[in-house]
Symmetry: C2
Subunit: 419 residues, 2 copies
C-alpha cells in the first residue's frame, strides 16, 4: 500500500543534506517518492507542522538488560560489574525476552528504527525483535571459554546463531567479541573468520576503560587498538564500541582500517571510566563515527536524542570550543553513517531506500519555532522522545500520533518478569 | 474542590525522604492528606502505575528568550554573545510575551512548576506567567547605566517592577544583577538594598566564564565570589547562577554566606566555557545547591530531567568516580533545596504544602520496571518530559493525561511572532 506524508519539513540526510518542505511517499517497505509533487497514494498523512527524518540507528546496545535500569547506579565500576554479573547469572530466557521487548519499545518510542546488540542468548532477542518489529543486528558475544558462563563454545554458539537466523525479516545475525581482557588472539581470529565467512559485522567493546588499556600495555606491550590492528582484526566490518581511551595515533589506526566507531557518551560518563574520545581526530583520519546508547544498566535510558546532545556537548566542553562539533555532524553519526557501517539501504530519505522513517511534532513547545534554518539544531539540541509523532520501520507504523502501536504490557508489570 | 490521587508510588521528598505506595489529597491550592488512608474527596484520580513527586523548581532561566532556540549554536562565545545581543536589540513586547509563553509551556510539559527568571521586561513576562499559570520568580536585571539598553535607570526599573507586581497569584517580583563585568559595587549595593527592603531574592550570574574571573582578578585583584563576599553582597537571599569557575576556597565562602547556587550544567557545557563546578565542596561547606536550565538560546531546551541527569553524569565523569554524586542528592537539588532557596512552601509532598504536584507514568517503557527500590534512580536517570502524565500548579491541572491544558498555539506559528 502506498502512503504519502505531505506538506512536511523534510530533513533528507541525502548526499547534499537537502532540507525542504514537501512530500514523501513509501510503498510497502520502500521509499518511492521524495519531492514537491504529490503522487497518487492510497493513504495520506498530513505532515503540516511535522518534520520527517530518517530513523535513528543505535550502534551499541545490550537490549536484554533493559529491565535492569536503576539497579546498579552511583557505585564504582568494580561494584557495578559485580552487581551486573550477579544479576546476569540468575537470568531466565523469559526474563531476557521480556527485558528485550521493553528495550525495543523504548527505542522505537525515541525514534530508533535499527539497533546493534552485543549479548549472549541472541536467539531469544531475535524472537523479541521479530515480534516487536524493529531492525535488529544481533551479535552473539564470544570470549575465551575460561571466562564464560555460556554453555558450549561461545564461537560455535555464535556460528550456530548466524546459521539459524539468516532468513528473517528484521533480524541480521552476526558475531561479537566481549573485549581484549577476556579474548585471546585466537578468539579474535576465529570471530573474524566467522564474520568474513558469513559476511557479517564484527561487533566489539574496545578501549572502554583506563584499566583495560593499561592492563593490555602491561601484559602484551601494546594498547588494544594497536594490538588488534597488528594482528589483522580491524576492518570496515568492525563496529568498535567506546574507543574512549584512544591516543591520536590510535585515531589514525581506526581511520586507516576504516573502522566504525560507536561513541557511547552517556554510558561512558555515567560509569565515570571513559570521558571523551578523540572524535575529531578519528573523523579526520577517516574512521566512520556512529552513536550508541549502551545498556539501560549503565545509561540508563535508550533515548537517542539524549545521546546526540550529550555527545555534542561533552566534546565541546572537553575542547573548550563550542564549535568543536556541529549538529549536522551529530545527525550524520546518528543516521547515514550508521547505515553505512551496517551496509544497509537506510539512513536517509531517498527514493529506493528502506521506509525507516520518523515524524517529529514541530508544534510541540520544545520545537517552536522550527524552520529550515534551525531544524537540524533543534533535532539535536531541543527534541526528545515525547515529540516523536510516528515511527515507521520497513513500511510499518510502530508509533503513530505519539502512541506506540502494539505495546502489550501484559507480563511486563513487575520486576519478577525480567529476571 | 478536594482531589485524591490514589494507589500511586509517592516520592515525598519530606524530611525522611519517605517513599511509599499510597494516596495524596489536595484541596484548593494545598496538600491536605498524604498517607495510606483514602479520605473522602470530590474527585478521584487513579494513580495505579503512576509516580507522584513534587514539581521541579528551575532556579535560573531567561524565559523571554525561549524562541531563540537553534539560532546561535555551534559558535564560540564571542560570536554567540554578538548574535544574541543583535537578536535582543530588535525585540518587541509581543515577541517577548510569545517567547515567554512558549518557554512556560515547555517547562510545564517537563514537570517544572516554579522558575526563577533574570531579564529585562519582566512586566511582560509576568503577564505571560499569570496567563499560563506557572509560579514565576521574576528578577528584573540591573547593571551599570553605561552598559544597558534599558530605558531609564535599571535599578529604578527593578524597584518599580517589584512595587507594581506584589499582589499577583503566580508572580513574585525581585531584583537581579547581570554580573561583575557590567556592574559596579554601587550597583550591587543598590540591588541588595532593594532586595532587603522588599524582602526578595537577589538573583545574579556569578563566575560563569574564565574570562569573567580573570578580568576581575586583573582589574580589582579579587575573584568575583571573593569580591562580592568582601563587599557584603552575598547572603541566603542570593541565587547565584553558574559558579563554575570557583576555587575550593570560594566554595567555602558560598557555604559561609549561605548562598543558593544554581548549577546550569547543560548550558555551561554547550557554551564550552564552564565545565563542572566544585559541587561536593560547595555542598560540604553548606551552600544550598539547586539546578537551572538557563535559556533556550544556550541550552537549548528547558527539560529538567535532562538537567538532572546531565549534572550528575558530568560531575561523576569529572571526578572519575561514579559515586561522586547520587540520584537522591540530585532530586533534592531539583525540588526541596530550590523551595528553600525561594522560601516557598513547596518542594515536597507533605500536608500543608502548596499543591505543586507532578505525576509520572511508570508504565512507559522508559520506566519499566519501577518500584520503591529504584524509583529515585529512574526519575533522575531514565525519565523525560514524554512520561510526565500530569502537572498540577497551585491546585490547578496544567497538564493532564500527557497533554498540556490550555496550550493555545495561535499566534505562535512562525518565527516572526517571537521577535
Amino acid at each position: 500500500m502506498s502512503t504519502l506524508i505531505e506538506n512536511a519539513l523534510i530533513v533528507t540526510q541525502d548526499q547534499t543534506r537537502r532540507i525542504f518542505r514537501g512530500n514523501v511517499q513509501f510503498d510497502g517497505d520502500t521509499i518511492t517518492y521524495v519531492g514537491r509533487e504529490k503522487p497518487k497514494s492510497e493513504s495520506i498523512i498530513d505532515g503540516t507542522g511535522k518534520i520527517v527524518i530518517p530513523g535513528f540507528i543505535n550502534t551499541h546496545a545490550h537490549v536484554g538488560m533493559s529491565a535492569s535500569k536503576g539497579l546498579f547506579d552511583d557505585v564504582d565500576l568494580e561494584r557495578f560489574l559485580d552487581m551486573t554479573f550477579k544479576y546476569d547469572a540468575q537470568r531466565t530466557e523469559d526474563g531476557i525476552f521480556n527485558s528485550a521487548r521493553i528495550g525495543m519499545y523504548e527505542m522505537i518510542n525515541a525514534g530508533i528504527t535499527s539497533f546493534v546488540d552485543l549479548y549472549y542468548s541472541e536467539d531469544v532477542i531475535a524472537r523479541a525483535a521479530e515480534q516487536v518489529g524493529i531492525r535488529a543486528f544481533l551479535s552473539w558475544v564470544t570470549l575465551d571459554r575460561e571466562f564464560t558462563t555460556q554453555k558450549g563454545d561461545p564461537l560455535d554458539n555464535a556460528e550456530n546463531f548466524i546459521r539459524s537466523h539468516r532468513n528473517m525479516r528484521f533480524v541480521r545475525p552476526s558475531v561479537g567479541v566481549q573485549g581484549i581482557y577476556v579474548a585471546s588472539d585466537e578468539t579474535y581470529h576465529r570471530a573474524k573468520e566467522i564474520a568474513d565467512r558469513y559476511d557479517t559485522i564484527l561487533h566489539m567493546h574496545l578501549s572502554e576503560t583506563r584499566k583495560e588499556v593499561y592492563d593490555s600495555v602491561k601484559k602484551i606491550g601494546e594498547r588494544p587498538i594497536e594490538h588488534l590492528d597488528r594482528i589483522g582484526v580491524l576492518s570496515d566490518r568492525v563496529i568498535a564500541a567506546h574507543c574512549v581511551w584512544s591516543t591520536y595515533h590510535e585515531a589514525k589506526i581506526l581511520g586507516k582500517d576504516n573502522v566504525n566507531v560507536s561513541w557511547n557518551s552517556v554510558s561512558n560518563f555515567k560509569l565515570a571510566t571513559g570521558g571523551v574520545p578523540p572524535i575529531p581526530e578519528m573523523f579526520e583520519a577517516g574512521a566512520n563515527i556512529t552513536l550508541g546508547t549502551d545498556s539501560n544498566g549503565s545509561n540508563n535510558s535508550l533515548n537517542f536524542f539524549e545521546v546526540m546532545k550529550f555527545s555534542a556537548l561533552t566534546l565541546k566542553n572537553a575542547r573548550w570550543d563550542a564549535s568543536a562539533i556541529k549538529s549536522q555532524q551529530i545527525l550524520d553519526f546518528a543516521t547515514i553513517n550508521a547505515a553505512n557501517a551496517l551496509k544497509i539501504n537506510a539512513g536517509s530519505i531517498e527514493v529506493g531506500k528502506k521506509a525507516d522513517i520518523v515524524i517529529l511534532d514541530a508544534r510541540a513547545p520544545e520545537l517552536i519555532p522550527t524552520s529550515e534554518i534551525n531544524v537540524v539544531n533543534n533535532i539535536v539540541y531541543s527534541a526528545g522522545p515525547g515529540i516523536v509523532d510516528s515511527v515507521i520501520i520497513d513500511g510499518i507504523f510502530r508509533k503513530k500520533d505519539g502512541k506506540l502501536i502494539g505495546f502489550d504490557q501484559s507480563g511486563l508489570s513487575s520486576a519478577e518478569n525480567f529476571i
